[in-house]
Amino acid sequence: MTEPLLSLTSLTKAYPGVVANSDVSLSIAAGEVHALLGENGAGKSTLVKMIYGLVKPDSGQMRMNGQNYAPAEPRAARAAGVGMVFQHFSLFDAMSVAENIALGMENAPKLSALSAQISAVSETYGLPLSPDRIVGDLSAGERQRVEIIRCLLQEPKLLIMDEPTSVLTPQEVDILFKTLRKLSAEGTAILYISHKLEEIRTLCDSATILRLGKVVGHCTPRETTASEMAEMMVGKLLQAPTRAGQTAGDVVLGLTGLSAPAPNAFGMSLKEISLELRAGEVLGIGGVAGNGQDELLAALSGERPVAQGMISYKGEDIGPLGPTARRQRGLLSAPEERMGHAAAPDMTLTENAMLTGAAREGLEKRGFLDWPAATRFAERIIERFDVRTPGPTAAARSLSGGNLQKFVIGREVLQKPDVFVVNQPTWGVDASAAAAIRQALLDLAQNGAALVVISQDLDELMEISDRFAALNEGRLSVPRPAQGITVEEIGLMMGGAHGMEVAHV
């Protein structure tokens, strides 16, 4: 067997208090599509950061093309032929595609020459993208293409992709996969990070599974079932959320022609959203990020009140009411961003419990706050939702993402909402915590609450929704029963591939 393109031998990296990677070994051959699989916090990010020269390993060694490979910085990694597409894009909204790409290059050619190169690469790999467009106008999928093309221009031998499909519609995913297969056929190796098992089964030749910083197994995804991989990833069998079927109750929340202007230049306006929500039902709202999810949540939570007559709650017009008034009536919400939006990072959990619990939990009497009661409320959340923390006096920022999410969701769920609106309930949360959160949501619905779950995780939406709708450019599609809906139909509801077909080669 010939020497692999990249081989890692017993890489170890420890941070104070946590071993991110311990004795990790793997090898990738030229042209191989290799999946790196693991839950959040399993050490995937640390591992690829070491390969990309962002982090130095404590011990172990890497070899590339038969030579020792120890990049001191990303520039060295790029020079050695490693490219990386991050999950979060680093692009300037106000500049054009070509300008953005030029900024990331060590010695960029003239803009006109670069534009020609960009067009050529985009043709060759079926990634439709015009070099003159302003990045602020692009969809998330198109932005990702900018990042990919930026890497491809350097003709990498190894391309690292960090959760590339989390922001894409199913059709855009297809385009991406075609590109990746073409690259692989030309001999470029791809290290593909994801926790979406079906995707990995379609795309990848081999997989390495990480758990708690250690390699727990290798497999060939095409010959392994998704549940087997999930078991290796989590270390135990996951319980799928359950609920007894039930009939929907009265209409509790009605939106009539809900429209709102964009909050800022790169926000999305809401356009004529209408729907009816019945007690006991779960409405899943899908859509690519940035299509009005945050704005819809803000309009429903009362953070940005809307005009009269647009939102009715149990027959009452609540459009102009603020968050506190809506909470008192039983309409609760949890925004996507935990740190700084759902919770104040420097404040204690007690104070964060007070943040939204004051009115409904009786933590406030005539303007004066009852801190002992807030502490008890925080303790109840911590206990009921298994939040790992020393106690209610811990600052919110000291909690891990998953634990804070459990706290934030638990805080609202324990207030027994009649309508609960939540955006990305399990984003960045490990699988077992995600399962617990989903179960809590379903229990809420079981007890007669109506739920609006906004998410970019289609599997999650299919698992818990009774009806499904999608946001596209601030418009909501007509909700339809989630039972029996196909991925293609969902894709069309999400707006297809944003008018982009695979470019003709």
């Binding site: 506190t324 909470r327 700084g340 104040a344 939204t356 303007g367 000291s398």
Partner: protein
Amino acid sequence: MIALVKRPEPSRVFSLAAPVLAVLATMVFGGLLFAILGKDPLLAIKTIFWEPVFGEFAFFYRPQLLIKGAPLVLIAIGLSLGFKAGIWNIGAEGQYIMGALFGAGVGLAFYPAESALIFPLMVLAGALGGWLWAMIPAILKVRFGTNEILVSLMLVYVAEQFLASMSLGLMRSPEGMGFPGSRNLQQYASAHNADLITGSGMHWGVVAAFIAVIFAYVLMARHRLGFAIRVTGDAPRAAAFSGVNPARLVLFCLGTSGLLAGLAGMFEVSGPAGQVTIDFNVGYGFTAIIVAFLGRLHPVGILLAGGLMALTYIGGDIAQSKLGLPAAAIQVFQGMLLFFLLAFDLFTNYRLRFGRAEVV
């Protein structure tokens, strides 16, 4: 390489130790400064910190501590509310002037009538004057999104022109033989903010300062409004999500700080200063910013910081006259205090790490 690493939780120890360390560091480096100027550093430090309270003439200086400390504390308490929420009223000096003008204006309008109602009326007018002056940046910010730092600061200079105009024109004493300046309110019993115990320095402004400290403490610790202020300062989006109305908070914070600054001006003009003059304002409104931060924006801290600041003022004056230290050196000394406080403050949320830097 030395790197700053964010602590997972704010350090309680450092949050309490920072002011003490800042005072110590100021003594060390201030002493160095005085030594370079050819003065005995130990003597200078002792003159500043010891002489006013325990020295030979302490009977004279102790009441001065209250007189100088009260307006600082009163103004700083108001400022701290806004500062906690990220609303920056830099123009307390102007609000202080307007409070004095409004208060003195009411008093002078009744001259020479005597009534027990005149002084309370002056208090209300002083509060109103400061509040109105602060509402200008507040309304401009809420309505048009202007920067309250610039507007409030610029209004200080407008207020100073008002002050000059008043002491030269409308409020000039008819018996002043043409000199600028109003009648002396100390000689007008109904309008005089006299010592409650003669010679103690304890006038109504001192009482108001103590009440403000208690009021602010209860507000911040127990009341929803204080909680709204703290959340807004920490995470504005979380505050909006929880139901805080940012515009109302701006109006409340700027309004309250203006009101307290106006009160401070009114108590000063009717008491220790006595009259409206061109050079009535001596910078309490600006020094109060230092006091607010030195006191960690905490009511009790501000009370202590106000006392400390008054001490360096009086001690600085003594050092000037007794040791011949230049006034600028005293100001540098006071500036050092804020500088070191901010520097040590960093360690509440960050710690130092020595060793190789690492990019993550």
